[in-house]
């Protein structure tokens, strides 16, 4: 009898103890809804007609669902093409950046050679070079190489920028792998290239995932370089540049603009939701190192 009472009060106390946390959580959910409100509004605006967009205010649920906005954004505003451009540029850039950062990080971490210290020093010294500083020579040299106004030129410029932190992520990871592993592979007769591709790179899978996800999002969202690389070639625009141009060209079609925004943003958001872990790891790496 007494034991039962004790159990019940225990549980009540635990519930009571949890209650403030639930209140805090609900409060935070409220803030979070306000936080993501611009996205909710954009999603709802992309389904309203232009008339309702102006009169509807902050109301989220459209009176009438207008799917036609998406057709207009996709065809008339060329977002179908912009999306393909963005996918092509992003995927190829991710592959180039991941490969070049993995190989560079690997040899810098595992081998001492003439100039290795200097190499690392130059990389660290240029960790924070802003695009606004390098943009003029980048455009100039691309003109000389006949790479301006082309997706190839844009891809090369994007994969040649910064990404020092990606090299450093690989560097840090490869450095802490024990030497015995390498020696065992050498005894088995593996050469330089085999050791890297069949021993080291598979081990570094988590880093590769992090670098790939971070690069994907950086490239997808890039604006400054795509802007100056497509000045005279509207058909080569990426979604971020297309959006800016959309407003200039068809200033009245705001619902179409919202639809174009949804088309452009959904891929990164979906990627983020599925690969969140790697993304967070990549960002916290900056603090830990």
């Amino acid at each position: 009898m007494t034991a039962q009472v004790v159990v019940r009060t225990d549980r009540q106390r635990r519930l009571l103890h949890r209650l403030p946390w639930w209140i805090a959580a609900l409060f935070l959910v409220g803030i979070a809804v306000v936080w993501i409100f611009p996205f909710l509004w954009m999603l709802s605006a992309s389904l309203k007609d232009n008339m309702e967009m102006f009169t509807g205010g902050l109301k989220l649920w459209p009176d009438k669902f207008v799917w036609d906005n998406y057709t207009r954004a996709w065809n008339d505003a060329h977002f179908g093409r912009y999306l393909i451009n963005t996918v092509v540029v992003t995927v190829i850039t991710v592959v180039i950046v991941t490969v070049r950062c993995a190989t560079a990080g690997y040899v810098l971490a595992r081998y001492r050679f003439r100039g290795s210290k200097l190499f690392l020093g130059v990389l660290v010294a240029t960790l924070f070079v802003p695009t606004g500083y390098t943009i003029i020579p980048v455009v100039k040299i691309s003109m000389q190489l006949h790479l301006i106004d082309s997706l190839t030129g844009l891809i090369l410029a994007l994969s040649g920028g910064a990404y020092v932190s990606a090299i450093l992520l690989y560097y840090g990871y490869f450095r802490q792998i024990p030497r015995e592993l390498e020696e065992a592979a050498i005894v088995d007769g593996a050469g330089f290239v085999r050791i890297f591709f069949s021993v080291m790179l598979p081990l570094a899978m988590p880093v590769t995932a992090t670098v790939a996800v971070l690069t994907f999002i950086t490239t997808w969202n890039a604006f400054f370089l795509p802007l100056v690389f497509t000045f005279s070639r509207a058909d080569l625009r990426t979604v971020s540049v297309g959006m800016q141009a959309f407003v200039g060209e068809t200033a009245t079609d705001w619902a179409g603009m919202a639809a174009a925004g949804v088309i452009s943003i959904v891929p990164v958001v979906v990627l983020f939701i599925f690969l969140q872990r790697y993304f967070v790891e990549g960002i916290s790496g900056a603090v830990k190192s």
Binding site: R18, W41, G160, F192, V247
Partner: protein, 301 residues
Amino acid sequence: MTSRSVRLKTTWIWIFLLPTVVLYGVYTIYPIIASYWYSLVEWNGFDADQKFVGLSNYREVFADPLFWNSFKVTLFFMLLVVPARVLLTLLLAMILNSPKLPLIGLLRSAFFIPVVTTTAIIGVVMRFILDPASGPISTALTKLGFGGVDFLGDQHLALPTAAVLYVWKFFGVTMIYWLAALQTIPYELYEAARIDGAGTGQLFRHITVPMLKPFLIIITVLTIEETFHNFDLMYTLTGGGPYFHTEIIEIYIYRWAFAASIPQLGHASAAAVIFGLLVAVVGAVQLWGVYAGRRLRGDQR
């Protein structure tokens, strides 16, 4: 090892470095150096001839009140956003780090979502949301009886509005920095202190604050460096307006190099070099800060 296999290894090392040497060399290292050369010539970018003019571009830039305006805007913007980003995110990170909070994963994701979305698109959409004539905010304000507010068109409101949007957009990055820092504090430390009878305030003052101090330096300087990369948001949001009140240095450079009818690449490059030096000075402070932070952490062990 034989000399042949050593040579083979060296060859492979440089083959592995080759993509980075070429790409990084052409698109980062070369531009850093070339900017200095371009800043010494007069050149419109179309013609082949570049006329060497010495330091006259620098004299022009220094004499241009709009350059100093953009310099001031860049620094003022930094002062507006850095404290908000660093301190408010710490508060949220501490709440989102407590293991007893329900829905923690969902909340973290929600606060992080703006970070992954395309900044340039956010800028365009926000311009409509804040539009004084037809935007939803102004419609709602009018319904409530207030007049419409021209957030981005008013010369006193534009920069603070951009700062609020910037903090909102990149809040999640600093939050993740702090979460990573908080996770370095062993949970047992809190438990032990609580057994000794310490209250929540004491826990914060005597454990959290001293343990986070070295991170504060690192996170602040990382955040400062990030505020220099703000072209995307400013350009799409205000384009530097109204009347240059939000023209950060990156937009100033862009205006002289690409937006003018006759590009003045020498002038723009001189501004870019000064901008690069500013970033480098802050970067040097960063290295010093990281070093000092390490020492602080070392002292505690």
